[in-house]
């Protein structure tokens, strides 16, 4: 009797595991298929019966992808846009986060509404005014125009996430330092900054990912191929050619995804909490 119940439980567990594995296969398959295609030979790619694993992997498609016009140019553009956006955003967002987490002030509520509300704005609804205004100040087709646009959309997320990290650090620590005779700035440098290290890194990395992945503003604000970012470059990859180079497309996709995937996996756990506050867009 007892053993039959144990068997039934074991059977049920095996059933759940099988379902879990099936879900895993379905969810991960597209990513697997991208990588697998990127390493296959052209004959294997267009074979009517799909070849699941590339047994004789080739790096040819990766070579083709990076030798496409403007690849390095656009990667460099992305890196410039991303690093300036993140560096400036994180500093000024941290200041605002301190205000939110450590001070009471009368416009606090208004500021919170602003920070949350902006994250809800559909970006498509803002392309026209941004395009027209930036065109007036000759910021269309310039990386600087894209950078300030990105900052506006990265800042609210950074403020909100950093605020969350700051709340996790007890106030007593800074107050103890103040009693010990440190100035407020000294207390900040000695106590708060080292403790905030992981939070600042995680938030920066997440801001990096959102900016790197952004498509719509880069598409609208940069027309010149030499000035585009890597996501726009990838979206134009197929162009109008009738013979699609699927291998190179998947190799290029893999290359675009690699930095994001690595960074994301590194910080996902830390940032998951802040995401509920409306960080990534679908």
């Amino acid at each position: 009797m007892n053993s039959s119940r144990r068997n039934r439980r074991r059977l049920r567990q095996a059933g759940w595991n099988a379902v879990g594995l099936a879900v895993f296969v379905v969810m991960v398959f597209p990513v697997f298929w991208m990588i697998s295609t990127a390493f296959k030979s052209n004959e294997q790619i267009i074979a009517l019966k799909p070849v699941w694993f590339p047994l004789h992997p080739t790096l040819q498609h990766f070579a083709d992808a990076i030798h496409k016009p403007f690849f390095w140019r656009d990667v460099l553009n992305s890196l410039i846009v991303v690093s300036v956006t993140v560096a400036v955003s994180i500093v000024i967002a941290f200041m605002a986060a301190i205000a939110l987490a450590r001070y009471r002030f009368s416009l606090r509520e208004v500021f919170v509404v602003l920070v949350i509300g902006i994250q809800m704005l559909p970006q498509a609804g803002l392309i026209i005014p941004l395009y027209v205004v930036l065109a007036r100040y000759h910021q269309v087709n310039a990386l600087s125009g894209l950078i300030i646009t990105y900052m506006t959309f990265v800042l609210p997320f950074c403020v909100w996430t950093l605020r969350g990290f700051l709340l996790g650090i007890p106030k007593d620590l800074e107050e103890a330092a103040l009693v010990d005779g440190s100035t407020r700035v000294g207390a900040f440098m000695k106590i708060l900054l080292p403790l905030m290290g992981p939070g600042l890194v995680a938030t920066s990395v997440f801001a990096f990912i959102t900016t790197w992945n952004e498509y719509i503003f880069a598409r609208v604000l940069l027309n010149d191929q030499a000035k585009q970012t890597v996501t726009v470059w990838l979206s134009y990859f197929l162009g109008t050619s009738r013979n699609t180079d699927w291998g190179a497309l998947m190799a290029a996709s893999t290359l675009t995804a690699i930095p994001v995937v690595l960074f994301f996996i590194a910080v996902q756990r830390r940032i998951a909490f802040g995401l509920t506050a409306g960080a990534v867009r679908g």
Partner: protein
Amino acid sequence: MPGTSTTAAAAETTLQPSRRQRHFWERPARFSVPYLLIVPVVVVIALVLGYPLYWLGKLSTEKYGLFELIQHHGTSVGFANYRSVLHDQIFWHTLVRTVIFTAVNVGLTMVLGLLIALLLVRVSTVVKLMLSSGLVLVWSMPVVVAVQIFYWMTNFQNGVVNYVLTQLHVGNFEQHDWYATPFSQLSLVTVLIVWGAIPFVAITLFAGLAQVPRDLVEAAEVDGARPWGVFRDITLPVIRPILLILTSLSIIWDFGVFTQPYLLIDQSKITPGNYLMSTYLFEEGYLKADFGRGAAISILMLLIVAALSVLYVRKMVRIGREAV
């Protein structure tokens, strides 16, 4: 008894000088410090969002095309743009289509996400680790990359989807063109969006499920409660707040989604028959360079999303009020 109050008073008098001193220099500083701290963020937002939003309002009442863009000057037309949009059949069809599209996408995302979260609780440790790593991997995929993968998988000549469906005897999908009808196009976009959105929902809900009291579930099971009863009476109340937040976020995101439909359907195949709110706006306003009319569409869209967001923003503000 009087003794204690005297001691307390004495203690207070000895403490007071130092306290007053700190207040003396801190008060004016303390008053302005938070404002100084938020100034940079507010300035950036005012410049890059506030000013364009003012322009959006202005543009929506003007005739503003490429000529006016070069001249830096539009001509006022009152509410003609709004009238034109609101009398446009395409606008109303697009709105209805977007509402249905959003409902289907959010519904599928939430149901599948919740099922996977519940599944994660039940599988063994190894499978749990595999499945959750897989979800994080999918979550991390850039949208533009995901679009290219789906485009390749659904290619009519040698897309793997057609092969697998034919092999599974779902039907004959050889050379099936998934991009032939608006319904088929938007269904593909739905699959792409739901696939990309499931990880966030599933992992967040799984974290929430950890708060469900285990002993309560076990006790209910011993008492012979049915799984559905356990879910409804014990699990659901615990995760309801998270479910609400995730649902409202998904509604807001899916209503305004642009990159997936625009790139997967392919810009050259975007027609009034498969418009969603954001692709409609992009085609009619930006690509046709009719910025005035596009601005009117934008404002209508922003108002709809603002109405959808009220609940969510209020909830977050309440969270923001906590713990100062």
